[in-house]
Symmetry: C2
Subunit: 414 residues, 2 copies
């Protein structure tokens, strides 16, 4: 089917989200069926607002350098499409714009909320009898998409966090006695993939991190204090990693704000604050001077220490999305399957968007130790191959040189 | 004078503190006057506790790799020596140990609090008529030592923060509309050197950071809200950098905890919390969803993105300290002087410890803009040469390979 394609980015950007964009653009350029290559500004909002960018007009060098540029080059959004039964308004607008611009291929780079959007666009096109090939491209540092072994973006965040723990761990170690505890808070929402990955920093028993806490394991304050005390008495200091989304045994977040500003479009409450909360606890109950680290969006955007494997895979899922759409498939998200052997091998596959949207893959409980405060060797074996390899980024005057798109508007043909 | 030398590290480690250690060791190895090369474990405490390490016994490769290792390889401390008039106990112990081990050269790597220690050791040796050559080696990310153009450790922290702002800034930019503000909190205590350095991230008007707040300028909440509002209306989002040590017009810290755990040996209160405080303000007053970043000790320990110039200079001040002591000088801190020309040139000099100890160099007010919310071009010109060049760190399995010392105890000769 000949026509134009549209690509957009959604949700929290990752260090490699632009690699996927680059993969889509460069693959689309190879195929005659695809005429214009449009980018929607700020995800689905760009389609709704008719803010479409002509990606064929961008400089080749800008596209080449996209992959090592943080943020979402097209802009992103956190916008929730209502369901078909709630309101057809957005869908009518989307399909109207698709018709106007003859958009026939729709690529959406995002996480589980964004796969909900992608799925809804696919369903709407079918219902409205508009020929549109819709493919989702996985992206999330949370690593919580189902049907895929892992998600592009996760490994770079994991690598950045692991190096942070290595470095801050050495720092803490040299101050044992005067500053005795450090708490590093990771993102990851309801899953402990990122928190668990900090274990990569550990090379010996004494190395940081000493304790890791997961959203998958009900959090007990008393047990936490007991754990911290035990490590402190054994080695003279303690480096703790906590996932932002810890929950108590009733399933309530240990730290969640409930005011209006802090809830996003998908109804997720803001979780930040767990490290500060636990710091106060460690200081008051154990009298240990404690520092907290909250890298927050730095762990999502740290291209300067990204994983090469992650970069390659992010590009690959973008490229494969285009191929799948051109095979006539629609309503799928690209997935990565891992070979069973000892040496890391991957192959690309796909899963139905309807099965992926809004689902969440947690860390298997058998990959967390019995005491619920560290990962097992299996977790490490899972994540280690994904953080391999460094990425060369062009620098200028001591700092990275990051690309920018010119973002020229595209106009529909009369 | 023939004898043994002792070197120690004190205060918060920096990304390059071990380069200075390396400089001392490798220079000391070249001189016949210096017999044993001892390291004191955990700064002055190692001397008081007679925990001395034989640095000649360390592997050459471990010493070579020290320079790219975070933390303080010998261990550090935050210990305040009482003044001579308050108590002679510590001084008597220190000189006793010096005699016992025939320590004749004393090198202390640290910031302004540590230069107080160094100065006191120098004075005590003189009073007790013990021949000891005492030289301080500057180290602090805060960049607040007087008589030196800048301090080793500062530039690497500045570079790490600048890349963090670049990356997190791109991240925020792609989400303008759904997440509109980010507040990054830097260290720096009473000076805005680190906060100001984040301005290096800015390449165009729209780039982060948009606003920077300094301890040097009395902080007004109302003016802050006005500034944020103005930037937000102009560009749709706002990236704010704040120094941990902001003070109101009465000179009180905007955020300081006063409980016992949070005050260090030198009486400095803990300052963390300003970003969280301002976030609540921005969210409640302006209804802008705001995220906070607090890299904390990661900015002190991030060897993986250190400045090569900083690394070289940290080595140099260590090396020059040994040379100065061998010239017979005592009671000095090594300083770095900058040439007057456009091209960055440095030369090594020295300043009296008694003039350096406990003093604090603030950002000159003429380097902060009139509105008190950004740096001037002069600040940028000052810091830019210091962050140049990347450092190659050995990696293994996708993560840095950091050295460790074996730390064999040294015994005094009978």
């Amino acid at each position: 089917m000949r026509g134009n394609c549209i690509v957009a980015q959604s949700g929290g950007p990752t260090a490699v989200i632009n690699q996927s964009l680059c993969g889509v653009i460069q693959e689309a350029q190879k195929h005659r069926e695809i005429e214009e290559i449009c980018g929607a500004k700020n995800g689905i909002l760009g389609l709704l607002k008719e803010e479409l960018i002509d990606l064929r007009k961008e400089k080749t060098s800008a596209i080449d350098n996209l992959g090592t540029t943080p943020g979402a080059a097209l802009g992103s959004c956190r916008y929730r499409l209502k369901s078909w039964s709630e309101s057809k308004k957005d869908f009518e607008k989307i399909i109207e714009i698709c018709r106007k611009y003859n958009l026939r291929y729709f690529f959406y780079i995002g996480g589980n909320d964004s796969m909900d959007t992608t799925n809804k666009v696919n369903e709407a096109a079918k219902r409205m009898d508009y020929q549109l090939k819709v493919i989702g491209i996985p992206k999330t540092i949370d690593n919580d998409l189902v049907f895929t072994d892992h998600c592009p973006g996760f490994a770079s965040a994991a690598k950045y966090l692991a190096v942070s723990v290595m470095e801050a761990g050495r720092h803490l170690e040299s101050l044992y006695g005067s500053e005795s505890a450090t708490i590093l808070e990771t993102l990851g929402r309801n899953t402990g993939w990122l928190a668990g990955s900090c274990a990569l920093a550990k090379r010996s028993k004494e190395d940081a991190p000493h304790l890791i806490y997961f959203p998958e394991i009900p959090f007990s304050l008393d047990k936490f204090i007991k754990d911290v005390k035990e490590v402190y008495h054994k080695i003279g200091g303690v480096f703790i990693v906590v996932s932002e989304g810890l929950r108590d045994k009733k399933g309530n977040y240990v730290c969640a704000r409930k005011d209006g500003v802090s809830i996003d479009a998908f109804g997720h409450p803001e979780l930040e604050g767990i490290s500060g909360y636990l710091k106060e606890l460690v200081e008051s109950r154990l009298k240990l001077k404690t520092r907290t680290i909250k890298s927050d969006i730095c762990q999502q955007s740290a291209v300067h220490f990204a994983s090469r494997v992650d970069m390659e895979e992010a590009y690959l899922v973008g490229k494969e999305a285009v191929k799948l759409a051109l095979e006539g498939k629609s309503g799928y998200m690209i997935t990565i399957k891992r070979g069973k052997g000892k040496v890391y091998e991957r192959r690309i596959s796909a899963a139905r968007l309807s099965l992926v949207a809004n689902m969440e893959k947690k860390v298997p409980l058998r990959w967390i130790n019995r005491r619920g405060n560290f990962v097992t060797e299996e977790f490490i074996e899972y994540v280690r191959p994904l953080i391999q390899g460094e990425v060369n980024i062009p620098t200028q005057n001591g700092l990275p040189c990051y690309a920018k798109l010119e973002k020229r508007r595209i106009l529909a043909k009369k």
